[in-house]
Amino acid sequence: MTVTDQVSRTAARIDELRSEGRAALVGYLPVGYPDLEGSIAAARQMVAAGVDIVELGVPYSDPVMDGPMIQRAVEHALASGTRVRDTLRAVEGVAETGVPVLVMTYWNPVVRYGVDAFARDLAAAGGAGLITPDLIPDEAGEWLTASQEHGLDRVFLVAPSSTSERLAMTASASRGFVYAASTMGVTGTRASVGSDAERLVADTRRAGAERVCVGLGVSTAEQAAEVAGYADGVIVGSALVRALVDAESAAAGLDGIAEVAQDLATGIRGARR
């Protein structure tokens, strides 16, 4: 038996939660903010506070899908010397908690590292797979092969503008779940989650996706509850990053993370499904 036959841990976790009658809470934090150890501690803290699946971001110089909050944190992480290989250390540190750990990365750092080498090292570090905001399945040949080889999840994005053909193609290329961008735009907190999101989740399921999680603009317990009513997972980034950025000390940052994560987890558990 090859690793290819292994079931996605991310998918298994989502299915498990589904059988408990709720959606997964997926929390994003960038590696290296406020520093490497601090980012590991923050991610472990959000797991302790109720995050089900962790998404660790690789700091990148040109993050075109990210809004000001995440840009700021990532710039800081890079300026203080965070390296791509630090991501693998962070993955190890967070995977110890037992939750699936995905890595969110723009494509060039992986290309530079070597696609197969990165997949191999990510798998060895206990990582579950990659979320690739600027890689569409059409361009992902090398990654499809490497992820298959190393038993990793491939989380591709769909958007409200995606055609039904592209939804089907993306659903079939994905492993773990499909990331539905709630709105046309970049990461960041918003007053409301777009009404496009629910329709997109339904369309993506119809196109063949078994698990669809929603991200972009979800920041409050109410929004999380609303999304949890129709999606398999709720992805939160900027609101968690903000708790770190706004904190006056490392300890306060961890308290802030716990508070935001708990609040979101409560929201999700109270969702009507």
Partner: protein, 420 residues
């Protein structure tokens, strides 16, 4: 005639032109490395562009604009006094500096503005470094009554304050970008973020032959008129094709524009001059092909300046228009297959060529184009050393230097001397 009246008909297409194709890939380079959210807009743009290419109306309208607004065809000028510094070669300039708005950028934006109208969109956005593409886009937006937002690195708005004022005079909103290195690459990031958010109403008028498909092929097609005109003009003047074509390369739109019509003239050497800054060995340069490695940036796989982690490295050049860590994918391909050569020109070499053209011919070039002139000086000396008959070098003078007077005055300490 079609939009493509300046393009060869299929039976005229030689093997290299055919291999260059129309994207998305140029050999291993190109593609669409962008968020899924942009794919629909890119597909829509590619489809509309294909329709426009086949529509005689589009071609006729673009030709009319070039004739009555841009000032095409642009002339060629032989420059013997400058050529005396080029080892005795004959040097001919293609005068894109005489176009309306002062550079080749207008060729591209008029085509894209027409496309914006065809797409039924009312707003255009663009990135700009030195401000030339921003000014050209603002100009086209005024002409076509489109809302216009130009993203410009905060650092560049400071360095090119007069161009900011020009764009505002033309009715554009100029947004200083304060993230990252606050230069052109960050302006592109911010424009992409705007586009993802406002794609329904907005067309992104990309300024160079980079970015995701269809931009590299589309911008090349719109700039191709430079080479098509120049090829005939040089034939008329000299009775033969040039031995070498020299063009500066930042993203590479003026270079691809003049190279493309000569791709199958295998005796014509195509030489791209990159911004060598303080010298490639210093690490402070923007010579992407000479000093970079393949990777993915701003939607395409191409050469780029990056560190060992794949983080984009800041580029350096005295010329803001060449100060970009990426390059169009077709150039990466032309370099890899050996059809075009790329070499760095330092700031000092470019400024010496700048000074010479001013003094010998009464033409103040853009500092970008001065890199191509410096290349002609090197190439002329190399070729005549090889003992050939006086070689003919065609230089794409992509822009005029009005915008660079302050930089030049500083470089040559003209303001301190009082009189010069």
């Amino acid at each position: 005639m079609t939009a493509t009246q300046d393009q060869p008909s299929p039976q005229e297409v030689g093997p290299t032109t055919q291999a260059a194709g129309s994207g998305p890939y140029f050999g291993d380079f190109g593609g669409r490395f962008v968020p899924e959210a942009l794919i629909e807009a890119l597909d829509e743009l590619a489809t509309e562009y294909d329709k426009a290419k086949a529509d005689p109306e589009f071609g006729a309208e673009l030709s009319r604009l070039h004739r009555t607004y841009t000032g095409r065809p642009s002339i060629i000028t032989e420059v013997p006094r400058f050529a005396a510094h080029c080892g005795g070669a004959r040097v001919i300039l293609k005068r894109e500096d005489l176009n309306h708005t002062g550079s080749h950028k207008i060729n591209n934006v008029l085509g894209q503005a027409l496309l914006t109208k065809r797409l039924g969109k009312s707003r255009v956005i663009a990135e700009t470094g030195a401000g030339q593409h921003g000014v050209a886009t603002a100009t086209a937006a005024a002409l076509f009554d489109l809302d216009c937002v130009i993203y410009m690195g905060e650092e560049d708005t400071r360095r090119q304050a007069l161009n900011v004022a020009r764009m505002r005079l033309l009715g554009a909103e100029v947004v200083p970008v304060t993230t990252g290195s606050r230069t052109l690459k960050d302006a592109i990031n911010e424009a992409l973020r705007d586009w993802v958010t406002n794609v329904d109403s907005t067309n992104y008028v990309f300024g160079t032959v980079g970015g995701p498909h269809p931009f590299p092929a589309m911008v090349r097609d719109l700039q191709r008129i430079i080479g098509v005109e120049a090829r005939q003009q040089v034939l008329d003047l000299t009775g033969r094709l040039p031995d070498v074509i020299a063009a500066c390369v930042g993203g590479g739109s003026n270079a691809i524009g003049i190279f493309h019509a000569f791709l199958d003239d295998t005796d014509v050497r195509l030489v791209g001059l990159e911004a060598g800054g303080d010298g490639v060995e210093s690490g402070r340069h923007a010579a992407t092909i000479s000093g970079g490695a393949p990777g993915v940036l701003h939607g395409a796989r191409s050469f780029l300046l990056q560190d060992e982690d794949g983080q984009t490295v800041e580029s350096h050049s005295i010329s803001a228009g060449l100060d970009y860590p990426g390059v169009g994918p077709e150039h990466s391909w032309l370099s890899t297959i050996g059809r075009a050569e790329y070499r760095p020109i330092t700031d000092a070499q470019a400024m010496e060529a700048f000074r010479l053209l001013c003094r010998t011919e009464g033409i103040i070039p853009a500092i970008e184009s001065a890199h191509a002139l410096a290349g002609a000086m090197q190439l002329g000396q190399e070729l005549t050393a090889q003992g050939e008959d006086p070689p003919v070098i065609l230089v794409n003078l992509s822009g005029r230097g009005d915008k660079d007077v302050e930089t030049a005055a500083e470089w040559f300490s003209l303001l301190d001397e009082g009189t010069s």
